[in-house]
Symmetry: D2
Subunit: 316 residues, 4 copies
């Protein structure tokens, strides 16, 4: 059975990335990922992926160092929002309401036990296409860009955490997320854990930070419609001089077809495609990968690249 | 907001198809769709798609005429099951419990207002791979077959109904399904309606039966991982002498990439791929297509084929 | 055995298209087909596909009516050029040398028996990428654009001809092209004939003009690397308001995966992908399709669209 | 300009592989590569890829050790055959005619300077499909199998050679093949050279043998229609327990999308897809990659796997 509160979070809404070169990061998302700049406010630039129904997908905020800012989670209803807020308050991690967040109604601010900033909300602005990006088909948010990596929507966030068990307890006990897969080391420690809040097989991931640091980012991922989009994207990144870290290949864990690049600000970005794989079972049985299984590398034999265990943002 | 009871049905579980040539229908699913025969009982043959987590995907039952038998819907929990049973009983459409259904615990039998047979259950047998189909990756149900259409899982059922508004009221009011898209004729009549019970953009569809008949089938659909799987499948069906009715192409409604064939028993079968499209918004706004919009055909201009409006099973 | 002179023509080099709206035609090729404008001269705009090794791919010339101008054919060597020039002169179809054609050394001008303008040349300018389109991989002509239909190179020209047998005699007897497939009507008349000058299964095609007119165009085709490029292009054209005439689908003849659109000037443009299909046999046996076989439509059952037999340029 | 005699060899015809486990090697080609067993003779099993027009594609011969046997090259005409035979005789590498080779008329036997066995022929048997593999489309050799790696045809052979410069002189001076790309070490030594005999960008490759041995094999490659076929094949090989050595990825050299596996006998087998890339220029300019460029790895950054420089057959 899923944890109590499962489905109270409807889905991952948007994410804030810090960048020391916000304009370059913006160009990466607009020119190569096919997003659209939709808003600027203070030090932040908001960009939108073509089929995200909400008003923006990524908030890029200028900072000295790369890293992840706030993760926004949409509740399934006002009641669901209220239930999760109470649970977070009970956990002592709440920081109160903000009514000034772009694109959303009231947002309840909090952190996870590792210090990653998060926000809950229900009220949201839907994306309104304009003359220049009105889609031909009315059941998509905006026109199909047909350029570069052409990502359809935000997919998931993978956080580095100093304490994965604490993250697990918070995710399942407080947020109502269900773990679908995990890596457990030979000494019994979970090294990484994948959580789902809907039928996607994962939305939020916590990976043990090799430096023991708190609040860092492993990567943010965006979904493409096909694996071919990802192969094409590799050529696009090659020409643009973007650092391709690893891939395209297929993960053994979660079976995602992936490509990892570093955006100009230094944050690791994944392009991912899950094919038709969903987790439909309400009582999905948590899959556990051992240390030895992890050491075998990716699905088709690619060894996991060294920098996957040494590069996180901010770089310490 | 979704209807009350949304999420009580976790997902579409399996479907029974009637066939006058059940062995040929079985060969279609095994040889061309890459399923595996897992059980025989009475006049029925059970076949399983490689990544369905439950024990079977399609129950093929010998009958004089093609058509659809029972649709099996898995509840999200015992409590959810109880709630939906009560709702169906209140609607006067219940037929009591069966404890002899292969692969499931107790199944509550009922019909929709149009007479399509349905069954609710929570307890279910998980598929257990054997020596010959044990997957290399432990997070999939059985080995990747790599042949023919290679469908991953059941996707949706499209029923012909004598009374679409009645079906709509039952789906939303009794089952807690949410409508995501519809066609409404100029006189205000809904001609077809797509319902979702999870994050897939649709699971159950009701299309107006041009003969006014009750309980017939338009098609059953299976999901592939890529559009390329569907292109390859077209060549596979061509060589196998299977009637390709229309496609590959992309629907305007729901944007599904599709191919329609007739299995040897006469039932229309769809292969479908949705890319990364999901309905994540808890308050998704029902999309309405007009008669004129429907007349424009499919997304890239293909005219809807005539037999789409004349062939249903059983053939009358 | 191939005709005498086979291999004297190395390949189809470039093609001139007439357009009543040359700037719109230019935008179609640049914005949607991912070509680059490389030159303007008189009423002509020259555009280049990213992996054509010569200096341009299409010459767009402003004219009152759409249609095809000159087709440029590169000879395999100076000697091969001389041999073909002599053959054309012997056929009485030569028009002498031009030394002022952009991108080429001396071009020998001639027409086919139907009046389509052609030119032979050996000396040619190679495409030189600049700072902004220098490829990361030195074995391609320019940077991978990664936008729109992203066509790699020119593929073939399909001419409408008043007299297909005369075209056949010229193609095989004078140019040394080999026929690889043909449609022959029940009365013995060839209705269309596909000619290859290299290992591609066709480069130049002659289709019987239903109006009996001379010198018209059925379509010009451009090659993409994958079928997925063509599926993506369909979405791109849909959003851009380009008329999609038919496809994506697979031809029975030559098995090409295709999409046909009309560029803003009215000329029919095909996007095509042949997979790994080549004609390697030096003694390839001409494939003949009957009238009945042609009537069956395309490979997967799509009926050939009516406008395929009524739209040619110029429109008469 | 291409070397004298270019086009005398029409294409690579078939290849003989030695295997210590010929039945397992046969099953690899039949079950996973989708070929068909067509003949047995002595210690040899002949298998055919679905769109090779000749009677077989690979001759599997039982031997103590893996390795490559004879490579069969088809001449463009009887005259071309005679010219190449005379050139080989002049080079002192001829071994006379054989009239007993399955599937071919007279075959002129010879070796390259490194001792790899080769055979020239013009007369050949075309593949005749039977009842069970007759294609629906008459322009392909046999029915589309739609299983496993589903390779369409033989693509190329990559030989290990003790003396690459000698191989180069033989290939260009005697066989009339043209080099299209090469790796040249800092000391001026060619480390590998890619030769084309038609419009494919390469057919025969010579790579320097790190052991200085003669007559060994690096790999034999087969062409698929799409990159997706190769991604699917990776899953097929994973399930079948076949050693996946590296890939899927894209080569920088020749830009081929690739996957390398070891067949049960130990020979390295490549699946490759070139997209729409051909070498059409008759005067193609040899591309040279430096030692430093080679060290950068594959197109999208994958480091060349160590075993690529240590595994050849026979294993010494």
């Amino acid at each position: 059975m899923p944890p109590a509160g499962f489905h109270d979070i409807a889905h991952l809404g948007s994410v804030e990335l810090f960048s020391p070169v916000p304009e370059e990061t913006r160009d990466f998302f607009v020119d190569l990922m096919a997003m659209k700049e939709v808003h600027r406010q203070g030090d932040s630039i908001y960009v939108h992926a073509w089929d995200d129904y909400e008003s923006y997908t990524v908030k890029i905020t200028g900072r000295d160092q790369a890293g992840i800012g706030r993760t926004y989670l949409r509740a399934a209803s006002p009641e669901a929002l209220q239930r999760r807020v109470e649970a977070v308050e009970a956990a002592g991690l709440g920081a109160g309401w903000s009514k000034t967040e772009y694109g959303h109604g009231p947002v309840y601010l909090f952190t996870d036990p590792d210090g990653h900033e998060m926000g809950f909300y229900y009220e949201t602005e839907w994306y309104e296409a304009g003359e220049e990006d009105r889609p031909s088909l009315k059941n998509q948010a905006s026109a199909f860009p047909g350029r570069g990596a052409n990502v359809r929507r935000l997919d998931h966030v993978n956080y580095l955490a100093s304490d994965v068990p604490a993250a697990r307890d918070f995710m399942t006990g407080t947020l109502g997320a269900r773990p679908t897969e995990q890596i457990v080391l030979d000494d019994g420690t979970p090294a990484a854990m994948w959580f789902s809040v809907c039928n996607k097989s994962y939305d939020l991931v916590f990976t043990s930070d090799w430096l023991g640091a708190r609040g860092r980012l492993h990567h943010v991922a965006f979904a493409t419609d096909t694996r071919e989009d990802i192969l094409r994207a590799a050529d696009v990144f090659l020409e643009a001089g973007i650092h391709i870290e690893t891939g395209p290949h297929k993960h053994a864990i979660q079976q995602t077809f992936f490509l990892y690049v570093w955006e100009p600000g230094g944050n690791r970005i994944e392009l991912c495609n899950a094919g038709a794989r969903l987790v439909l079972a309400p009582d999905w049985k948590l899959i556990t990968w051992t240390q030895a299984e992890r050491a075998k590398g990716q699905a088709w034999g690619l060894k996991t690249i060294e920098s996957f265990h040494t590069h996180g943002t901010p770089v310490l």
